[in-house]
Each structure stands twice: as structure tokens, then as C-alpha cells.
Symmetry: C2
Subunit: 381 residues, 2 copies
């Protein structure tokens, strides 16, 4: 790419059930927090990207980027406002497009935001809307919602790699423990494995506490040319790679459902672009829409050998003081998963950690069961 | 931008009611036609953009770019697949993002596609889904669908500029006449002004034949670096500008509803970027979601003076052999308006004309009542 890019500001709303706040309130709040963090006045923004999965289905609103630019007061400064969508990888796409926009030289200061308002439903229900991430005709109509599809992946992983029910629980326990103290998290509460295993089956072997919740929330980051970041902030972090890859949208078209080809493709390119290896990464926000999703992801990202993802928590590979601290925020599981917001929220959290003691951060955002993956690498200055 | 870009291939499906063909069939058909036109094998594609407004509401499917990459066989060649959305300007955004992707150097050969499947409805109706382009909370809940909002603009234009009911009819008559012989058009049939004026009011003063229809269809173009275009085709056309702008999403927040600030902003930047003036343009595909939309657009694009758009047909400014041939395809009115496909279909049609006798072409794609506008300029080689 013609020039390097840095994150100069980051902000988010609290994730949770916001009955009193509308879709537009959420994203404008996150955007204002990111701009304040970046010390960037609104009139310096050159363009806006919004990651959003299903505002059409959830709140009857399309054309959401123009709506947000308008309500944020950016209409008066005339910025192109573009919504991108790839199910719950929409936020990752928004971040990546913003980085490409700056890298290309077309824009200087760009806001990447993500938002979803999942409560306050209009004409749909949450499971139905979520199922839009899978192949509606060939997976959903025959009965496979996303939980059922991930349940098949979990069962296959147990059979092929010996992953246990308790190891899935460990992921939930770790992520809830990490969320304690995160003021933005939806469920910043410790739980134990017995609690996870006492919740009802959503789709066997996955129980309720294996699943990320339905959430309202928004997140935003401000990106700018790396060599101009100091003009705005002393807390910039460098974006050293952002890669996006695809896989078949339907599980039944894949050779192996215990791995995500899109994750491996995106990670391989990102590591290569950044000139780092998995072992260099010391903090990561990983897509844990279900506990099994994290188990598979830590393998595909190279944090463990293939088949060893189930042991990553007990072996202290992915714990807060492990080789790579995975989901210090609480992840999708405990921080919450407002679909289109998550990919941007991951960048917000990694940025915070890189401003403190960590050196190399990774974000991993998946669409549905992995039709789309975005992997980005960031480094402390 | 670091490098120049050309359109090297263009294709589309027939627009109409395709009860026998699914969402994915449509866009794959258009994509294959564009690739064949470009003489580009699938494995040379570096990335894919899809413009789509409301597949979530129309067919329950989100994550549509991954779906399309998969069904087009592009999954095996591992391309990032990104859906962009800005109501019925989604296609314009897809084209623009594809151009930026090549211009930035990130990709070489990129497909921009657009698609909408508006018949075969699931849980919504067409007017309801379309209304997602407006401000759901402050325009639609109080009763303003898009036809009603454009009716207000039409009434204001009549009052302020003396535009007549017959002048609106003239736009429909011209565009239907232009569509005759277009094998891809939904309604390639001549009509007269009396016919338009005998159709029922949808929202007074707009009648049924002032409105573009609900359509199924898809379109695709292939873009590549301008200096590599000859490798693929002798029929490349150059993209000399593509600009996107925003305005308030709601009509009631605008100073003047007889003009589109987003169109004027995007056009001004596009003309400046390309180093051309409105008078240089000899062929244009203009967003005529309603007849009044074209009247306003031809003013905002500089083809007539402000207030003279109503006379553009009778003065032979915008007729097939006028100063600038506007909507030779039949436009949204007669060619059809599969929302997310339209912005790409406009590029397909302008490309065809620039391969023949025209020199400088313009596309103008609007989201809803103008919260988003995309204006692109293309030139024959």
C-alpha cells in the first residue's frame, strides 16, 4: 500500500440492552467518544465507514451510513458515508475499508464505526435475523440456524480432536473472568464451568452460556496516516496489516468443518504483510460468537497446533497472563456481540491494550460460520 | 489517486420479474457476462464488491458478498468479498469502491456488481422495504414513504419553478421511447403523455407511470488499471472520476427540496477531478426513480439552469439526439430499478455507449431522496 496507517482514536458505548437509546444514538455516542479520544474535530473527517449487519431487519432502516453522517453532524462537512456488510464481520470490513481509504491516499482522517441495535425488534426475531448470515436457501430453510451449525462444528471437533465439554466451558469462564472490570461489557461477571454446564441446550452440545448474547452497542475508531498521527495524539498505534478472506458460506460445502479456511487465509496474508509470526502476538481479540468458535480460531490463527485449541485455556496459552491474552475484553461472550459493532470494538480494545503494556495485537472477526474473515495486526509505538 | 482505472468488461441480466430465478442466480449471471465481455478468467479476480440494498428484508439473506463469491466459484480463488449499501445508491458505491481498490494499488482486477430481488417477497412488502432508504423514525413512521417524499419535492418544484404535470410526463415518455430495442429493459414499450396522466395517483402529483417499477436484476462491471486494459480488451473505457457525497437523510432537514445537495457536491468534485464541464458530457445515465428525480438531477448535474429541468425534454436538451442523451437505456423508469443493481447497470450502459459513438459519459446514482449521491465520469478511448 502506498502509505502506512495508524489508529489515533477509539471509543465505544456500553454494550447491553439499551431500551432507552435508538440505533442512531448508539453510533453517534461511540463516534463522539472516538473523536474526543483522537482530539480530532469533526470538520477534519474525510470519510465514514459503518459496519452493520441487519438494521433493515432489526429496525427497518437501510441507508444507515448516510443517516449516521447526518445525525453526527458530518453532513455539513460533506463526507462520503459507506455502509459495509458481511454478517457479524461487518465491523471488521468497516475498519479495513477505512484503512484502505487512508492507505490509498484518497482520504486522510477516516472514521470506522460499527453498530447494531438487536433489542427493540420490529418485524423479525433475533434468531431469524441472525440466520441471514448463513445460506438462507440451503442451510436455514432446512432448519440450520447459526447455533445449530456451530453445534455441528463443535461435535466434529470433539470427535476428531478429543475436545471436551469442559474445555468449551473453560472458554466461557475465561472470557467472563476477563470481562470483570470492563465498564463497557454486557456481562462483567465471573461464572464457573458448572454454571455453564447447567444452562439449557441451545443446540447440543452447545448450551446457552456457550453463546454470545444479543446486544445493543456501537464502537468507532479514527484512522489517519501513520506519519501524521503525532499531530493528534501521543497514543497512536500502528496498523501493520488488515486482510480479508472468504470461504464457502455454507458449512456443507467445506472439506473440514473443524477449521475456518477464511481465518487461515486472512491470517496467513496478515502475518506475511506485517512480517510477524503468531508467536509475536501478545494480545488478541478473537471472534467467540460461540465457545467453539474461539477454540477453532486460536488454532487457525496459529496460537496452538491444530486440534489443541480445546486445551488452550487449561494450558494457559490464551489466558490473561498466557502466551497470548485472548479476549481480555471478555470477548463476544461476555462483552457482548452487537453484530456490526464487534469488529470495530475489537480494534478499540486492542488499541487500549497496546497503549498499555502489550506490543503486538491481533483482531479476528468472522461472518456467520466463516464465509468471511478479517484479521488485522496492530503494533504499539 | 496513485493510478488510473478503466472499465474492461460489462454485463447484466434482463431486468424484470424473474420468478424462476433466485437472487444468487441473477448476480452470478451478470458477473459471468461481465467476465466474458472482459475476457478475464475468474482466477485473475482480486476482489469483489456487491451493491445491494435490502436482501435481508427481501429474501432474508445478509452476508451476500460471501454468498455471491461462493456461488460464482470465486471462493476457490480466495477473494475478499464486500457488500456496500446506501439504499438505491448501493450499486454506485460498489463501482466506486472497486475503482478505489484498483486505484490504491491494493488490487488489480476487481468486479463491481449490484443486485436486487424485489419480487418473491418474504416477510415484508416492497413499499415497506423501500422506505428503509428514508429516515424510518422521522419520515416513515409519520407516514412518508419514498413516493410521498418525492411528491412533496415535485409539488415544490412546480410551485417554485413552474414545472408542469406534462413536463413530468415527458420524462416518462422519453425514457420509455429510449428503452425500445433495449433487450435488457423491463418495459421497452412506447407510451404517450396521456397514458402517464391516466394512471392512478400514487402520491399526488405523482402517478403510477411517474414511478420506477419493482424489479429483479443484476449488473456487473470489471475494472482494472488503465495501463493494463489493452491486455484484456480493445473496448476499455476510462474512469476519469468517481465521487460520492452525502446530504441529510430526511427531506425536512434540507433548506431546499427542489435540489439535491449530494448530487451537486458529488458532481462538482467529479467534474473538477476529471477536468471536464457539464457541457462536455454527451451521454448520461441519471437516477430517475421518479420523473421528478430526473428533472431535479439534470439541473443539479449542470445540464440545464436551475429551474429549467422541467423543460429539458421539450427543449431537446436531454433527448436521444439532444445536447446530452439522458437515459438512453430507458433509465430506472423503463429499464427497471432493481435497487442495488441500478448504479452498476448505469455504468454498464454508459460503457456500451462510449464503445460506440459517444465520448464523455456520466452516471448519477442516488440513495432514497438524496442522502447519498454517486457521480462518475467515463471517457471513450
Amino acid at each position: 500500500m502506498p502509505r502506512d496507517v495508524a489508529v489515533i482514536g477509539a471509543g465505544q458505548t456500553e454494550f447491553g440492552e439499551h431500551w432507552e437509546r435508538s440505533f442512531r444514538d448508539l453510533v453517534v455516542t461511540a463516534g463522539v467518544r472516538a473523536l474526543e479520544d483522537a482530539n480530532v474535530p469533526g470538520e477534519e473527517i474525510d470519510s465514514l465507514y459503518v459496519g452493520n449487519m441487519s438494521a433493515g431487519q432489526f429496525v427497518g432502516q437501510e441507508h444507515v451510513a448516510a443517516l449516521i453522517a447526518d445525525y453526527a453532524g458530518l453532513e455539513s462537512v460533506d463526507v462520503p458515508a459507506t455502509r459495509v456488510e458481511a454478517a457479524d464481520a461487518s465491523g471488521g470490513l468497516a475498519f479495513r475499508q477505512a484503512v484502505l481509504d487512508v492507505a490509498s491516499g484518497a482520504s486522510d482522517v477516516v472514521v470506522a464505526s460499527g453498530v447494531e441495535k438487536m433489542t427493540d425488534l420490529g418485524s423479525t426475531d433475533t434468531t431469524e435475523a441472525l440466520a441471514g448470515s448463513a445460506d438462507r436457501e440451503w442451510e436455514v430453510f432446512p432448519g440450520g440456524n447459526t447455533a445449530a451449525l456451530y453445534a455441528m462444528a463443535a461435535r466434529a471437533h470433539m470427535t476428531e480432536h478429543g475436545t471436551t465439554r469442559r474445555q468449551l466451558s473453560n472458554v466461557a469462564v475465561k472470557n467472563h473472568e476477563n470481562a470483570v472490570g470492563n465498564d463497557y461489557a454486557q456481562y462483567p461477571t465471573s461464572i464457573d464451568a458448572e454454571t455453564v454446564e447447567s444452562t439449557a441446550y441451545v443446540s447440543e452440545p452447545l448450551r446457552r452460556f456457550d453463546c454470545s448474547p444479543a446486544s445493543d452497542g456501537a464502537a468507532a475508531v479514527v484512522v489517519a496516516p501513520a506519519d501524521e498521527a503525532e499531530k493528534y495524539t501521543s497514543e497512536a498505534v500502528d496498523v501493520v496489516a488488515t486482510e480479508q478472506a472468504s470461504d464457502s458460506i455454507a458449512l456443507h460445502d467445506r472439506d473440514d468443518i473443524t477449521t475456518s479456511k477464511a481465518t487461515r487465509r486472512a491470517a496467513k496474508r496478515a502475518y506475511s504483510e506485517a512480517g510477524v509470526v503468531a508467536a509475536d502476538v501478545d494480545v488478541a481479540e478473537v471472534h467467540d460468537s460461540y465457545t467453539i468458535t474461539e477454540v477453532i480460531a486460536v488454532e487457525d490463527l496459529g496460537f496452538t497446533e491444530k486440534g489443541q485449541g480445546g486445551k488452550a485455556v487449561e494450558d494457559e496459552v490464551t489466558t490473561a497472563d498466557g502466551d497470548v491474552a485472548v479476549n481480555l475484553s471478555g470477548g463476544l461472550k461476555a462483552c457482548g456481540h452487537p453484530l456490526g459493532a464487534t469488529g470495530v470494538r475489537q480494534v478499540v480494545d486492542v488499541t487500549r491494550k497496546l497503549r498499555e503494556e502489550h506490543e503486538v495485537g491481533l483482531t479476528h472477526n468472522l461472518g456467520g460460520t466463516g464465509g468471511t474473515a478479517v484479521v488485522s495486526l496492530l503494533e504499539a509505538r
